[in-house]
């Protein structure tokens, strides 16, 4: 089917010299596919290859009272049992690489499992069959615990604690709230003025990526004091970094070779196979393969989060949506992985491609005893977009308007201010609607057909950041102590108003790295990290004066000891590893939180010293007590992704 190019649309905005687009090309890898020679990770032969399989929790939520692997060790062909205590850095979270979140997930779980299929032990044997037989011989004394499988049930005060690193069953956002807020304008006031209120609830199940190639990795000792690792990963740098951390090997001793991925769709980013395979190779001195079978891929492999959304719209008679309020729940399963980021990604996307002058959202990253979820095909966005578009149809029905015309009416246009305080540009929803309507024979009014993304936006209120009402409800720990509503503004005893024209401050660039050796060296990155606000930070209208520190979080992070100068940094084997001071949001994600709050009222607990919104370079994290001086730099050894300080 030939591709139709609508070059008439936005013709003056681009260079139309399409030298490659639209012309058929042979994929550079398809010759390998049709000859069967594309090198997937398993297409490498090793003599003496050993096979690794895991003992897994059969319950949604359970405590491991004891493990007896003696019978398993006697199964012919078994070479080595790998226990949680064998893992140098057992706890990890994927986004520790971006300094976002606490290490919460063991590679092999010693005490309490949070989902069905969670691995507690690994067996390495000379054949996969022997490994399976040995796994069946491991005797585990399980204590089944009450479990919770629903996101809203998990938020209730009496719910089982799924993840001990986040005992409120929610990810801690900005060390302050148990959810991610977005506030723009005053939805309460706008609802009072609206002609219609349209509400809907929407739900998506977790979705398994189900690639035809299952996840896996093969690791083997190489002759140059390195370990080579072939992996199915979509994210080679995630994998090498996670592996270096969890095996406590410097990344210079890891030789990672990514191959053709046999379908990923987001399901091959969690980097769980490589550390175990490498550990197996370290402990046995042999090549070790860790491959999921199809049952594991379906049950244990991380799906897209299930989501639940409630949307409330305030709509005028003529179809204009003047207020939109979201309450969203992402089901992270038992561990964080990427869901914390999915929530933020989502928040930056709201309220969808529509210009709505009053927007509020509360979005939760909730822990339940389900399989931990991860990335999949636009994760963070697809669930809420499904909800938004269903909601738009409902709105159209409520006002008696054609659903496509309703979208054209409310669509964002170039120059419009978006709820997360950036200006919309290169909008094309209107043109997309018009073309689709034409092609499907859906009649639109002349007025709708005459609309353009480049006309009518960016003027008057559309271009401005409105006065915004904020609240402080839903601080970390509040919900578990006294059940409060999850809806935006419900239960907010105190509301503050941020002046119109105030853009939120970009969070501190001086975030304390999670560990002292994970320090970005600007000169090694090849560009200068400026002292001022990062490029691209919004600067609309007047800034607020220097913000006062936020109220103290009710969850006090434990103080980690400062390592003495020159000594190897100790790796905690259990429990969360936190920086000495409270941290801001990750530098990587767009600013989405509300403007800095006004001073807390006398009834709130007196705030602890908190980091100011700092612009100091990252090597001097604001508020930290000591800065560990840097060890001498050795050429060729990366300090960004590294193992123990005292390495050769």
């Amino acid at each position: 089917m030939p591709v139709e190019f609508r070059k008439d649309l936005f013709a003056d905005e681009r260079d139309d010299n399409l030298a490659e687009i639209g012309k058929p090309h042979i994929r550079q890898d398809i010759l390998g596919h049709v000859t069967g020679r594309s090198p997937y990770y398993d297409d490498h032969l090793f003599d003496g290859l050993l096979h690794l399989r895991c003992v897994r929790a059969p319950y949604h939520h359970a405590r491991v009272r004891s493990v007896d692997a003696s019978a398993a060790e006697r199964v012919p062909g078994v070479v080595r049992i790998i226990r949680p205590s064998d893992v140098p850095q057992n706890l990890n979270t994927l986004l520790a690489l971006l300094n976002f979140g606490r290490d919460d997930e063991p590679l092999l779980t010693p005490e309490k499992t949070g989902y069905r299929g969670e691995p507690i032990l690994a067996v390495v044997a000379t054949s996969e069959a022997a490994a399976r037989d040995a796994v069946a011989q491991v005797k585990v004394d399980w204590e089944e615990l009450p479990h919770v499988l629903d996101v809203e049930e998990a938020l209730k005060p009496g719910a089982p604690i799924v993840n001990t690193t986040y005992p409120n069953n929610t990810f801690d956002y900005h060390d302050r709230y148990d959810h991610q807020k977005l506030r723009f304008g005053d939805t309460e006031a706008a609802f009072a003025q609206a002609d219609h209120i349209v509400e809907g609830e929407y739900q998506m199940s977790p979705i398994e990526q189900a690639p035809i190639e299952t996840c896996g990795a093969i690791a083997s000792p190489e002759t140059n004091d390195r370990f080579v690792c072939y992996t199915s990963t979509q994210a080679l740098f995630f994998s090498v970094a996670v592996s270096a951390k969890q095996t406590a090997l410097p990344s210079s001793r890891l030789h990672f070779i990514g191959g053709t991925v046999g379908g990923g769709f987001g399901g091959k980013v969690d980097s769980h196979h490589e550390p175990l395979a490498i550990l197996g190779a370290m402990l046995t001195g042999h090549p070790v393969k860790y491959q999921w079978d199809r049952a594991e891929e379906m049950q244990v492999g991380a799906p897209r989060s299930g989501e639940r959304w409630r949307i409330k719209d305030g709509v005028m008679r003529d179809g204009r949506i003047i207020a939109r309020e979201f309450t969203g729940f992402f089901d992270a399963g038992a561990y964080t992985r990427l869901t914390s980021y999915g929530v933020q990604k989502c928040t930056g996307h709201l309220p969808g491609p529509y210009t709505i002058p009053n927007v509020a959202s509360n979005t939760y990253c909730v822990y339940t005893n389900r399989t931990p979820s991860t990335a999949m095909r636009g994760f963070g966005i697809t669930g809420v977009d499904f909800s938004i578009e269903c909601q738009m149809d409902r709105v159209a029905e409520a006002v008696g308007m054609d659903p496509i015309e309703l979208r054209i009416l409310n669509a964002y246009r170039d120059g419009d201010m978006k709820a997360h305080r950036r200006t919309a540009k290169n909008c094309a929803l209107i043109e997309s609607c018009q073309v689709v309507a034409q092609k499907s024979g859906w009649a639109l009014s002349p007025d709708a057909m005459a609309q353009s993304s480049r006309v009518g936006g960016g003027a008057g209120w559309r271009a401005e950041i409105p006065e915004t009402v904020i609240d402080h409800a839903g601080q970390i720990g509040e919900r578990r102590r006294n059940w409060i509503d999850t809806e935006p503004f419900a239960g907010a005893t105190q509301r503050d108003r941020i002046a119109a024209g105030t853009a939120n401050e970009h969070p501190a660039t001086g975030n304390a790295p999670q560990r002292d050796d994970m320090v970005i060296e600007a000169e090694r990155l090849g560009f200068k990290v400026s002292d001022g606000p990062p490029a691209g930070a919004p600067s609309y209208g007047t800034r607020a004066t220097a913000p006062t520190p936020p109220a103290a979080p009710s969850f006090t992070p434990p103080q980690t000891p400062t390592p003495p100068v020159g000594a190897p940094v100790p790796y905690p084997n259990a429990g969360p590893s936190l920086p000495p001071a409270a941290r801001g949001a990750p530098a990587a994600s767009p600013p989405v939180s509300a403007a800095p709050p006004t001073p807390p009222s006398p009834t709130t607990p007196s705030p602890q010293p908190a980091p100011t919104v700092s612009t100091t370079p990252p090597s001097a994290p604001a508020g930290s007590q000591d800065q560990a001086p840097r060890a001498p730099r050795r050429p060729g050894v990366s300090r960004f992704i590294s193992g123990p300080r005292g390495r050769r």
Partner: protein, 262 residues
């Protein structure tokens, strides 16, 4: 470690069977269990004796336990059975899956077995004994050598597989019926279901209701009312017991009246 015994004859294979032994025919079920490290057996027995012949004796056809689904579909003598064979797996599976294997398959499999039940299947075992298929299904003891079934006249035989995924998918239920019509009345009625209980079964309540009835919407009403009488449909990942009960009469009607034969 798994023990594999290969014998020259089926009789010898029968002697090697035991509690923790599986007989390997087409392999579509046993090798799957081997691949997944099923701990319930540690020996596989197979035989070199060919069990894949198809012989017609009068109004009955005899199929060896090793006859594959693909063979059934290709055989002119078995053209009435082809829809049931076609319901099993995909093309490659059908080159491997056998009559004996489908008879011995656990829930939710048994699409062919249900057809054989409705066709008055009579088994010949390795030890020389014979017994009705319905009896065998209650304990599945003994190695099957062959099965003999009635050749249906005209369009007396119907088969219907109900599955979410088409064409290749596990059955929510499957149904087979043998209905002779003389002077507008049904006789020699046999009706069987698979995946509506632990094993494929005949449904006596439906058969009684159809015997002597006319094959039209009114005549089959009593049979539809009795569609799940005496049955306890299972709850499993494919469908709930409630769902199976609800839709069984609908599918039975479509089977009997030849509706919606996709």
């Amino acid at each position: 470690m798994l023990d594999v015994v290969t014998t020259d004859t089926l009789a010898e294979a029968a002697q090697s069977m035991g509690d923790r032994t599986r007989f390997l025919n087409g392999g579509t079920l046993v090798m799957r269990a081997v691949n997944y490290g099923d701990q319930r057996f540690d020996r596989i027995v197979r035989t070199r004796e060919a069990l894949n012949d198809v012989q017609t004796h009068g109004d009955r056809v005899q199929l060896g336990a090793g006859v594959t689904m693909a063979q059934i579909m290709a055989s002119r003598d078995l053209s009435f059975l082809a829809p049931a064979a076609r319901a099993v797996g995909g093309p490659a599976i059908r080159n491997m899956a056998t009559v004996g294997g489908n008879i011995c398959a656990p829930h939710p499999y048994g699409d062919l077995a249900v057809a054989l039940l409705a066709l008055d299947g009579q088994l010949a075992l390795a030890d020389g004994s014979t017994l009705p298929l319905a009896t065998y299904l209650s304990d599945r003891k003994g190695l099957i050598r062959s099965i003999s079934i009635q050749r249906p006249s005209g369009d007396a035989f119907r088969f219907r597989k109900v599955s979410r995924v088409k064409p290749k998918g596990i059955s929510v239920m499957s149904m087979a019926a043998h209905l002779n019509r003389s002077a507008g009345r049904l006789s020699d009625v046999r009706v069987a279901y698979a995946a509506m209980g632990p094993d494929p079964v005949r449904v006596p309540a439906v058969e009684r209701a159809l015997e002597g009835a006319s094959l039209d919407a009114t005549g089959i009403q009593p049979a539809l009312a009795a569609a799940t009488e005496g049955l306890t449909p299972p709850d499993d990942a494919l469908a709930s017991s409630w769902y199976r009960r609800e839709v069984a009469p609908v599918h039975l009607r479509r089977l009997l009246l030849g509706e919606d034969t996709r």
